[in-house]
């Protein structure tokens, strides 16, 4: 009885077709599954309230916002609000930086997570496995503010761990804060360090879901570890990998603000190499509090995000339509 009920609930559209002839299909659908729709209501309301209604605020990107005139009454200013972003070529530089950093971070951290998950799956000792998993997960709980303090204590010229080490080995100390190109790698390393354990959880779950009979069959056929990974594990979790990559590509223009801001701070020497859209916009607008300009920058980011995610999805669809998100 219970099981049947659950099945019924999971396929709400199953039997409604028969009733459709008499009444309006939507109405009868709603009536039949009213409890399900009622359960859906809070989520729908939330999405409507926090995702759709605020979209109206986009008009502010084209207005000179005044408190006493409100959103509707404020005067239009055309593309004026976008100007600060593109003046003197900074907009292009930070956009390129954002995409390069996020693409590199996406690839390194996801690749490492995948490797970690596969390796953990092959490890026999249960205890050892747990320890590795916990240790790799821990950095996720460390806030970027603390990481910023670590970074300064490792790399600063006078008292940094790195320079003490170099001096002890008889080398000259180096000032990484004057070497912008090094920060691409420093940021990438810290990003992976922080996210590897967390990201690997999804892959571990996907690997656990693989039918163990496949591995048993492979064992009987005499496959070695590498063959099993290459022929069974990786193909089985391919859809998971693609979904995760697609979801993360959508965030590619939203640099992890906390990470960049806490690691780099207000150090002008590194801006050329480390400025991403979010940090640049924050710095430019934090002191002015200009709502129109902030909205313009956000709109620019969102439109680019939209283009990228639709583009990547189309690419995936072209290669293998089963894996596309939509």
């Amino acid at each position: 009885m219970k099981k049947q009920n659950a099945q019924n609930a999971l396929t709400p559209t199953g039997a409604t077709g028969a009733l459709a002839g008499k009444k309006h299909p939507l109405w009868s659908e709603m009536k039949k599954n009213r409890s399900l729709f009622l359960m859906l209501l809070p989520a729908l309301l939330l999405v409507l309230l926090f995702k759709y209604i605020p979209l109206g605020g986009i008009v502010l990107a084209f207005k000179d916002y005044r408190y006493d005139l409100g959103i509707v009454g404020s005067p239009w200013v055309g593309l004026q609000n976008f100007k600060f972003f593109f003046l003197s070529g900074t907009g292009l530089r930070v956009t390129v930086n954002t995409i390069v950093y996020n693409a590199a971070n996406l690839i390194t951290s996801q690749l490492l997570s995948l490797v970690l998950a596969v390796v953990l799956n092959e490890i026999w000792g249960r205890r050892f496995k747990k320890i590795i998993q916990s240790v790799s997960f821990l950095p996720y709980f460390v806030s970027w503010i603390l990481v910023g303090a670590f970074v300064y204590n490792i790399f600063n010229v006078d008292n940094g761990v790195l320079n003490h080490f170099l001096v002890a080995l008889g080398h000259d100390p180096i000032n990484l804060y004057a070497m912008p190109s090094a920060w691409f790698f420093i940021i990438m390393i810290f990003n992976s360090w922080k996210w590897v354990g967390y990201n690997s959880v999804v892959y571990i779950a996907a690997i656990t879901g693989i039918d163990s009979e496949c591995y048993e069959a492979a064992d009987i056929d005499g496959a070695n570890v590498w063959q099993k990974i290459w022929r069974i594990t990786l193909p089985s979790i391919k859809p998971t990998v693609i979904t995760i990559v697609l979801l993360n590509v959508g965030r590619i223009l939203r640099g992890d603000f906390q990470m960049f801001y806490q690691i780099v701070g207000r150090n002008g020497q590194l801006y050329d190499a480390t400025d991403v859209i979010d940090t640049f916009v924050f710095r430019s607008l934090a002191s002015g509090g200009d709502i129109g300009m902030t909205m313009a920058a956000t709109l620019y980011q969102s439109v680019l995000c939209f283009i990228i995610i639709v583009g990547v999805n189309a690419l995936v669809k072209k290669i293998d339509s089963d894996y596309a998100l939509f």
């Binding site: 409890s35 600060f84 804060y177 200009d290």
Partner: protein, 511 residues
């Protein structure tokens, strides 16, 4: 049967979720609806006849972190307020970490706010221009007559935006004195003469560098890099933002000053060579911009800091054993713009009249001011016979944590335990004050905001590393000039010059 119970339970659960969601939303509605209930005749023997006043709830916003003991004080304060003005005050705090974003958000949300702290550094002029505050020329004299009379003409001029006065500037003079706070004990130990000029400062830092290997001679760090500003100030120039970090400066001694970018003053190359030499000598580390430690001087990690007289006062109280000395370096002390602090009535105010009456009490009645700013007598602080105030529990209730907007020269008290030299220094500052009309000039960057924001970016990205000797002086200057051209520096300069000319005409007509 069983199925029915299931449905009923799931229905109930869903309903509960929806209800809780809706409740959650409703909770966000304006909580401070002023109760329109007629007050009747409340017990009021006080002077201002509260019987005539309807009961009101006032909402006030200040900037800072709320002290633990603040709610206790507010209970006492509200007893007084209820009796005399028939009002209840609610104080909300915008934290230092996010006031820059919260402040405009609060004003744009339309939530009723009756009284709010405002200042140049919370973008008073920009917000007023956007219609955030009520004009006060009529309300002010009517509901806060004594306060209105306290505001000097210059202060009124400084609080004027367009046609109207939108704020009541604080009545306490603050001085634009910048100087060097140095360790008196170390100066004595290594036989360094009192500092009178930049060469003297260099000699002091040389002595520290030679004798104290674990101490940073200067106080330069990520947020403490005002030395180039103070050097320019000591040469007699004036920053048009009125504070440090200004991209544009003038020479106030000229009959009709010309606006210039900070690197364009005649002696700049000479000063740049000095910064470069200081960096070379290791007065600050090559990665000083990555250092976020603002407490270096009080913890003994740095031997000096270029800062104002308040900074030095705090050091004296924190570390009396190090005998901190302070040497004024700008050679022309000025009273800062009155809009350094002030209070305004937002357009969304429900009770602007009552808010002004409260402000009048806070600015002219010591009972109100002492309680609000120094806390409950005997619990949070004691007011001594000499008029100074002694904090009894600074962790629970620090002195003057939120009263900057309505301070006056008359009611403000000095903390107990300051060295005699502090009083002398302040006295000599007061005596050497010079008038500078350009303190009343406000640079309006609204019409050039894109270019100005690009210029500010140049300041942090190229100018700061240059004056800290982190980039090569020649190549660094070339880069800055190239960037300035791309950001349309000439256009910005022309616009500011136009505003300055307009200001001079207006000022000369009025004085």
């Amino acid at each position: 049967m069983k199925r029915n119970t299931h449905t009923a339970i799931s229905l109930l659960l869903a309903l509960a979720l929806v209800v809780s969601l809706l409740c959650g939303c409703a909770g966000g509605a304006p909580s401070s609806v002023s109760s329109a209930a007629p007050a009747g005749s409340t017990a009021g023997e006080a002077s201002s006849a509260p019987g005539a006043l309807e009961e009101a709830t006032l909402v006030m916003y200040v900037i800072g972190g709320e002290p633990v003991g603040f709610p206790d004080m507010l209970v006492e304060f509200n007893k007084l307020l209820k009796e005399e003005l028939n009002a209840t005050l609610e104080v909300n705090w915008l934290g230092f970490a996010d006031y820059l974003t919260q402040y405009p958000l609060l004003l744009s949300s339309g939530d009723p706010v009756d009284l709010i702290y405002t200042a140049t550094w919370t973008n008073y002029y920009q917000e007023a221009r956007k219609g955030a505050f009520l004009p006060l020329e009529e309300l002010g004299p009517q509901y806060a007559p004594k306060t209105w009379a306290q505001i000097t003409d210059a202060a009124k001029f400084q609080a004027t935006v367009g046609e109207h006065v939108y704020a009541i500037p604080s009545g306490k003079d603050t001085y634009s004195a910048w100087g060097i706070a140095a360790r008196g004990d170390l100066m004595q130990k290594y036989g360094v003469d009192p500092i009178t000029d930049w060469a003297g400062y260099e000699a002091y830092m040389d002595a520290i560098k030679a004798n104290e290997p674990n101490m940073q001679p200067s106080g330069v760090y990520a947020d403490g890099k005002q030395q180039d500003d103070v050097v320019a100030l000591s040469r007699g120039y004036y920053p048009l933002t009125g504070s440090t970090g200004s991209p544009y400066w003038i020479d106030p001694s000229q009959e009709h000053p010309t606006v210039f970018f900070v690197t364009e003053y005649p002696e700049f190359q000479q000063d740049l060579a000095m910064y470069d030499r200081w960096a070379e000598k290791g007065f600050w580390p090559a990665d000083a911009l990555a250092n976020q430690d603002s407490t270096m001087q009080e913890t003994g990690k740095s031997a000096s800091q270029i800062h104002n007289v308040d900074w030095w006062r705090d050091l004296c109280i924190l570390r009396p054993e190090w005998d901190f000395q302070w040497y004024e370096m700008t050679n022309h002390v000025e009273i800062q713009s009155a809009m350094q602090d002030g209070m305004a009535i937002p357009t969304s105010a429900k009770n602007p009249e009552r808010a002004l009456m409260l402000l009048e009490k806070l600015r002219t009645d010591p009972r109100y001011y002492d309680l609000f700013v120094y806390g409950i007598p005997g619990v949070h602080s004691n007011i001594l016979e000499d008029g100074t105030v002694e904090a009894l529990n600074p962790d629970v209730f620090p002195l003057d944590s939120c009263g900057w907007g309505f301070r006056t020269n008359e009611l403000t008290r000095l903390p107990t335990g300051l060295p005699d030299s502090y009083g002398k220094a302040v006295e000599s500052l007061k005596n050497s004050v010079k008038e500078n009309k350009y303190r009343s000039f406000f640079m309006d960057t609204d019409s050039i905001k894109s270019e100005y924001s690009a210029i500010q970016n140049i300041m942090s990205q190229y100018y700061t590393p240059l004056v800290l000797g982190m980039t090569d002086p020649v190549a660094g200057m070339e880069e800055i000039n190239k960037q300035l051209e791309a950001a349309d520096n000439e256009k910005v300069k022309a616009e500011i010059q136009r505003q300055l000319d307009e200001f001079i005409t207006k000022w000369d007509a009025g004085h």
